[in-house]
Symmetry: C2
Subunit: 194 residues, 2 copies
């Protein structure tokens, strides 16, 4: 059993050492941002010396950020985006997505990697992809349930915006209720008319 992004998942293959390290890096970068994490921090959190880190990530910190971005994107695809594309009623798919998101962000207690990587510009590709694919997957699910493309896209954007905004406001205020309410509001907005 491995703990990834705050959600327990089972792995088809035993995780490599590198994957274990990346999970630790993910936690560091999403909490403090790229510029807020030093190699000393990483060394302490992983228990590895700097040279060991350079063995796994030859290009150093930027390399680590890319690995974390790819890890986060893969994790979002598997746990959040793909379930939206499956069969079944829209309400079930939305409920599954929101439950997973709630778990990943630990009810708003943990910030979003996307938000905290933005100022540095590190791993910009995966960061952009996470948002873009989230919107795409949501819009596709709404369309599959009969919502017109333009409206589906608008609702999808609004939902992702609400979740990202709620994470910022929850971090700023330490009020988990803000995140809970945002999840509930997103569910209502996404399912209105179903």
């Amino acid at each position: 059993m491995k703990s990834v992004a705050g959600k327990e998942v089972t792995s088809p293959a035993p995780p490599t050492a590198r994957e274990e390290i990346v999970a630790v890096l993910f936690d560091l970068f999403r909490r403090a941002g790229y510029d807020g994490v030093s190699l000393a921090d990483i060394s302490a959190a992983t228990g590895l010396g700097k040279s060991s880190l350079y063995h796994h990530f030859p290009d150093g910190k930027p390399d680590m950020a890319e690995a974390v971005g790819a890890f986060a994107l893969k994790s979002m695809r598997e746990n959040v985006f793909n379930p939206l594309r499956g069969e079944g009623p829209l309400s079930a798919k939305i409920a599954a997505m929101l439950a997973t998101a709630d778990a990943m962000y630990e009810g708003g207690a943990k910030p979003c990697l996307v938000a905290n990587m933005l100022p540095s510009g590190a791993a910009a590709g995966p960061v952009r992809a996470i948002i873009a694919e989230w919107v795409d997957a949501l819009a596709a699910a709404l369309e599959a349930a009969g919502v017109k493309p333009a409206a589906a896209r608008a609702r999808a954007v609004e939902a992702v915006v609400a979740i990202e905004g709620a994470l910022i406001v929850t971090q700023a205020t330490s009020e988990p209720k803000v995140f809970r309410d945002a999840i509930a509001a997103a569910r209502r907005a996404l399912l209105s008319g179903h």
Copy 2:
């Protein structure tokens, strides 16, 4: 004429040197976050040597962050929160607030200081106050227009969440439409029933 937070404002008194510096610091910190800005960056942006900076901010970078936080809070109070508390119809107050916010964030092109200061924890007091007072001011305006306290607060939080989230998503996607749509949606949500 001075340019502050992207919005032209007139000052009752001539701005002190320190205030001019803080305006530059504000721009740096909100773009790159506390950890993404070095004294060398600040020296280059202000044209001042490091010793001059320590003359104005004896405690160094944390001192600068506090000054920027206080500046941002003051700016938000004067330009965003206070207008919400005045007389007049709700629609006018909301319109004024959204127009000012749109100008300050330059249509979503510039990020929010709050979001980018969060990971470091610098200036946490002012950062928290900006969000809390924004919600309070909005809720008060809604209540003054007859909305029940609980509903007013919920709508106020949703509006601030939508704006903060739209700034994140706009930064991530470089799609200014996301921010424009969020402003429009916030206006509709805040005025529903008026």
